[in-house]
């Protein structure tokens, strides 16, 4: 089973994600390659991309790691609500949250600056861009680490406590090392996703005079007939970014051994009050305010005029349009499909990489992440190049499904991989000794045990697929418009207020279904 599984997984990863990129790279190969890569402007964009990716990764790790631990392993008050609230920044599409942050923190009339004094905060800066990106991506860390922690034995922390360690030392000496593999993995995801992000760098980077590779690539792809060559050369630089996370290796500890343990929590003790204060201020600033900025905009006729008579609900009329409702359906279907396929494929890739000794397993795991480090524009172009002849998938829903799976499968693979890494093989050995074969073990032991990670991985893929913009704008043929493309259209042709309506609907829809899911499953599933 492992042999067959390996070849199936390898073939799918290559066909879905690698061939289209190879096709793009082929366009750029040749004499011009070095000219583009050695160009002064390319080099400065490369350096800026690297700096931005590193800073964003660091910040996302800090936020995501701290909150994962606090909300899973401590007696922090309100940690259940917190778990859901903290995923809100991931539900708001990145391009929408960038606009929300422009509203909140532009130096001239940003709402926060109105409160704090003009020019105190400047979203058009390296720091601002890092902040906005980190808010979009810290959920990678949060969800991956959280799912890994869900399984681990609290006795490990209790033991440190009994050895006389205080809250901070328990965290530093026991919890942190236990979280390290999940942190390293999800940090790698943030790094790659930042390197390829387009929306926020385009909106905030230009005024901040920061040029990154993804915006340069977009510029060459979208105007000149010969831009493909240049874009493809620049994109090959980004493929390198997918390799960086592979250099960071953290030893995994199987913390779910065969001995079952009771869940217990670390008492924060004296640290409780300052921690609570810090946590809820963060939630207010980073979660509630931007969400309010998005939803708030939806209720005004003219953006930026906060007078009472400017309030209106007529923006919501766009929801009556048939094409908007069609787009909602298309997006739900595509996102459910992409998330499900990604979880199956990613789970298989992760299982092979972490639980088998098959040769080449690490390579497949690594390859599956390259599309994440590639800008959506490039991937979309690659898919069109690839799927024109002999099989023409342009203007079908398939090419979009492939695009989403290719781009985000690494999120599922890594999240599930972390979950698998915490589980001792002896649990599967015991099933073997009961006579269970491969598929049965997968179904009855592995899947239920890593279910928290599978749910996390599913959500990690579902959300960005649901509101995906960059690739859909190139791929969505007639009748296949998505929420993302419709939101973009409203923004372009009818102004920001109409687009906010859709963002509000997305937010409401996802949060509501999450709550329903939680209630129906008595808290077992949901985010």
């Amino acid at each position: 089973m492992s042999r067959l599984g390996f070849w199936v997984a390898a073939a799918l990863v290559v066909i879905v994600g690698i061939l289209p990129l190879a096709r793009v790279a082929w366009e750029g190969a040749g004499d011009g390659w070095w000219d583009v890569v050695l160009d002064e402007e390319s080099r400065s964009a490369l350096v800026a991309t690297l700096k931005l990716a590193l800073a964003t990764t660091a910040l996302a790790l800090l936020i995501g790691g701290a909150f994962a631990w606090l909300s899973m392993r401590t007696d922090l008050p309100g940690r259940r609500v917190l778990r859901t609230l903290l995923t809100v920044p991931y539900i708001v599409p990145p391009y929408i949250s960038a606009v929300a942050w422009i509203n909140l923190a532009n130096p001239q009339v940003g709402l926060l600056n109105v409160l704090l004094g003009e020019g105190v905060l400047n979203v058009y800066s390296f720091g601002g861009l890092t902040w906005v990106l980190a808010l979009s991506f810290y959920p990678y860390v949060l969800l991956t680490v959280r799912a890994a922690l869900e399984n681990s034995d609290p006795a490990l922390e209790d033991a440190a406590r009994m050895s006389g360690a205080g809250t901070w030392r328990v965290f530093r000496d026991v919890s942190l090392p236990l979280m390290r593999p999940a942190l390293a993995t999800s940090g790698g995801l943030v790094f790659m996703a930042t390197a390829s992000a387009y929306g926020a760098p385009a909106l905030l980077g230009a005024p901040a005079r920061i040029d990154v590779l993804s915006t340069r690539i977009y510029e060459s792809l979208t105007s000149d007939l010969d831009g493909l060559r240049q874009a493809s050369a620049l994109a090959t630089l980004l493929f390198g970014f997918a390799l960086v996370p592979l250099l960071v290796r953290a030893r995994r500890h199987a913390v779910v051994s065969g001995k079952a343990s009771r869940p217990s929590v670390v008492r924060l003790g004296r640290a409780r009050f300052p921690v609570v204060l810090g946590v809820w201020s963060f939630v207010l600033i980073a979660v509630v305010l931007p969400a309010l900025a998005v939803c708030g905009t939806a209720f005004f006729r003219i953006a930026g005029d906060f007078s009472f008579d400017n309030l209106t609900s007529e923006n919501f009329n766009v929801l009556q349009r048939r094409e908007i409702r069609d787009a909602l359906l298309t997006s739900v279907g595509l996102a459910v499909g992409a998330a499900t396929v990604a979880v199956v494929l990613g789970g298989l890739v992760a299982f092979l990489a972490i639980k088998t000794r098959h040769r080449g397993r690490g390579l497949v795991f690594g390859l599956s992440a390259i599309p994440l480090a590639t800008p959506g524009t490039v991937l979309a172009i690659g898919l069109i190049l690839l799927w024109t002849r002999p099989i023409d998938l342009r203007n079908t829903v398939w090419i979009m499904l492939i695009a989403y799976v290719a781009k985000y499968v690494a999120l599922a693979a890594r999240a599930i991989g972390e979950g698998l890494g915490t589980i001792d093989d002896v649990l599967s050995d015991a099933a073997r000794m009961s006579g269970a074969g491969g598929w049965l073990r997968l179904r009855t032991i592995w899947v239920p045990l890593v279910l928290p990670s599978i749910v996390a991985g599913w959500f990690l893929v579902f959300m960005p697929s649901f509101s995906e913009l960059t690739m859909s704008l190139i791929l969505a043929g007639p009748g296949l418009d998505t929420i993302g493309t419709r939101m973009w259209e409203l923004q372009e042709y009818e102004g920001p207020t109409a687009a906010s309506v859709l963002a509000t609907v997305v937010l409401g829809l996802v949060i509501t279904s999450n709550i329903v899911l939680r209630v129906v499953s008595r808290g077992r599933y949901g985010i």
Binding site: V109, L221, V397, L480, E492
Partner: protein, 328 residues
């Protein structure tokens, strides 16, 4: 799950095309979705045997997709209607367009037609200045030239010419007219050049940047909604962005494409385009609601020679602009 399956299956068949014997004509277009909505019944009435398929996205996405289709050697597009005239010039130079002299388009001004009829302007967005008069209390600018005045320090925004075709056109025109010093001046006034025209409008409305260089078509619907915006038609010439229509040489049914092409210059279809807040290239057409009459708009002189020069200088113009904006 079942709905998903249905969706997927439907999607598959949508991709294969419905088998009702109709010829498919693909139009890649960046005009307003509402305009297309208004056009569709007219086209369907005029061509009952044709199924029109619209790939409706921004000019930039369409260019990206079309470039990929050229590279893959199989182009879907029959008619192309985007806003970047220089892209057409490049396509024409490579011989990828099918020249056609439409009798319907005879009255389009000569400067707005390709010399060899490879493409013809079918609509004319214009770039003007807009001021949020509630947020900016100083004297209004009268011309593009005025914007380098220090009273606009920290007040200005425009679209990013590196990412938006219409804004590239503006930069090309103004840099030719005033030289790059002009943009040094805008840079000194800390202009934000980011996003597309909608981003400029957003900054204008929120008061973040109460003065902007932006397309008239983005302003008109907001004016109708009561936005506190004054439109300034710059005395030194609003920049027109004559947006062409062209037939791809690879089109499998050129005769049909020509008839569709003609139709786009009919009074009726032109009226639909004008209702999308753009000017018509036909001199006799009415202006969009809320806009000045065409003859009263001072314009940057547009001609084929300008298009040709800019097409050649495209990279240099972008590079120079980038340098200036990055420089302190």
């Amino acid at each position: 799950m079942r709905r998903l399956l249905i969706l997927l299956v439907v999607g598959l068949f949508a991709g294969c095309g419905d088998d009702d014997g109709k010829t498919e004509v693909w139009i890649y277009s960046s005009i307003y979705p509402q305009v297309i909505e208004r056009l569709e019944p007219k086209l369907d009435a005029a061509f009952p045997d044709v199924r029109f398929r619209w790939f409706q996205k921004g000019s930039e996405q369409i260019a990206a997709r079309l470039n990929a289709e050229f590279a893959s050697g199989d182009v879907n597009c029959d008619l192309l209607m985007t806003s970047d005239p220089f892209y057409y010039a490049q396509l024409a130079e490579r011989g990828l367009l099918l020249p056609y002299e439409s009798p319907q388009a005879a009255s389009v001004p000569v400067g707005m037609r390709a010399n060899d009829h490879a493409f013809t302007t079918v609509r004319v967005p214009v770039m003007v200045i807009a001021v949020n008069h509630e947020r900016f209390k100083g004297a209004l600018p009268a011309s593009f030239r005025d914007l380098v005045d220090r009273r606009f320090d920290g007040k200005l925004s425009m679209g990013d010419p590196l990412k938006s075709g219409t804004n590239f056109t503006t930069v090309a025109a103004l840099s030719r007219k005033y030289g790059w010093d002009y943009f040094q001046g805008l840079r000194k006034n800390d202009i934000i050049a980011a996003g597309g025209n909608s981003a400029v409008l957003h900054r204008l409305e929120t008061g973040e940047r109460p003065v902007g260089i932006v397309l008239l078509e983005n302003l008109l619907p907001r004016l109708a909604k009561g936005a506190p915006i004054t439109v300034v038609y710059p005395t030194d010439g609003a920049v027109p962005v004559p947006s062409p229509i062209a037939i791809l040489k690879s089109s499998p049914h050129p005769e049909l494409a020509r008839r569709v092409y003609d139709l786009f210059f009919s009074t009726e279809v032109q009226a639909s385009i004008v209702s999308g807040h753009m000017y018509s290239p036909l001199p006799e057409a009415a202006p969009p609601v809320g806009a000045r009459a065409w003859k009263d708009v001072p314009l940057y002189p547009w001609n084929a020679e300008f298009v040709e020069t800019v097409r050649k200088d495209r990279d240099a113009i972008k590079r120079r602009f980038r340098e200036i904006m990055k420089g302190g």
